[in-house]
Symmetry: D2
Subunit: 142 residues, 4 copies
């Protein structure tokens, strides 16, 4: 067990049957936030930085949204609420936009390839969480 799972397991309002889905969203959001920030910094250090402005911005956007989403999902409250859904949807969009831009540069830059993969993992995890808790679901306390 990693610390994310250990903490969830010791929480008085631990997630029920979707424990693994929640743990995976948190893990992917924190990982993607770090990788995007690292990609922005690597892009900034490249000789052709002028070609990578859009990538740097989307990296920073994605890092901010993933970071906020990871914090929100860490707090164990109402996983089927509208706020929870709107946040996961924004996160999926951020990950997809960043992955698409990174994909344009990954032949040249290894860091863009790694970042694109982290974004895809995070979008998948968020999508699974949305599916696990259908809109208007009654399972208020997961």
């Amino acid at each position: 067990m990693d610390p994310i799972q250990e903490m969830l397991g010791s929480h008085p309002q631990k997630p029920g049957r979707h424990f693994d889905v929640i743990a995976q969203v948190i893990r992917c959001c924190y990982e993607c936030a770090q990788v995007c920030l690292s990609c922005a910094d690597a892009c900034l250090a490249e000789e052709k930085v002028a070609d990578l402005r859009e990538c740097i911005r989307l990296d920073l956007d994605c890092a901010d949204i993933c970071s906020a989403t990871g914090r929100l999902v860490t707090r164990q409250a109402r996983p089927d609420s509208e706020l929870w859904r709107a946040t996961l949807e924004a996160c999926i969009q951020a990950c997809r936009s960043c992955a698409a831009e990174c994909a344009r540069h990954e032949d040249r830059y290894e860091h863009c390839r790694i970042c694109r993969e982290a974004c895809e993992r995070c979008a998948d995890a968020c999508q699974q969480a949305l599916s696990a808790y259908p809109e208007g679901g009654a399972e208020a306390s997961h």
Copy 2:
């Protein structure tokens, strides 16, 4: 002019006709992020903290989303993109959820009243920005 406007005015890609709308979103997001964090801490210090758990959580959620939104909008890029819209929509939802919870406590706690008002201002500012840049709008560079 406050520093937010001064900075926008000196940016190579400054917003065009919606300058004031953008400045207001940024101002409200940073203000609301601070006020929500302050409300969470004030709630935590109240004698009846056990009645305010939900308020503290929503304060922290709203602070995180407003903070990420303020940072995203500060970056002057593609205001009509899907990511921009999804983020503003999550922010409006966060502000409304937090305002609704704070409203339940504002007769007793002045900090909840001030926080509810900051959340409403922020939701309004985000809504105006969404209206100013209609979905699928062609004005890519504002």
Copy 3:
């Protein structure tokens, strides 16, 4: 009164005689965090972005530290603690490093001049807070 002061005034553990010093640190930290992020984005949009890599990095560093400091000081607890002091000291250093780098570019870029000034205001506010609560002070509850 701005919302920062209103919130401090309604907090069960409001700051005592150094109310204005605390309000000013919070105000300057949030302002500087926003201005530094805006300067990073403006630098990224400049034609000579390759000359501004160091400025962008220090802008992002300063935004991160100011943001964390503003959040820490917003929480009304033990202003004379070692953590409180170490955080303010890191913030002063971040503001000074960023101001020094921005000063090198301010003849050419207005955004660097505005950012340098915000950093200086923030460093001053943090310094005044350190002076107001001397190390090892007994005033645990301010």
Copy 4:
């Protein structure tokens, strides 16, 4: 290799002989930031929340400082600078303060025990980074 190491390895200014030390600081800062936020939320959900106010505050402080430190160290620039040192020192202090408070509650609450351990790992990693890059060291580009 985890994504943190992969990203560092693909960075144009990758760390030299202290690669593992840098990777470990980043890993521990992100982990500790998440665990502290989770501990704050678990404390908030405990029946005796009123006894855990101080722990919640220090959890939130530590999460903020670890998060800022993780972001700063992710950016590969001047690891022996004064800002880098001041930030690591603030992070060590945050981790130690939070660990000490969590230790007071760990007999009763498993989440406080897990959080105390994450804080100790993070403080150790930051301390090793400070030792690896002695003050005033000439190795500007690590």
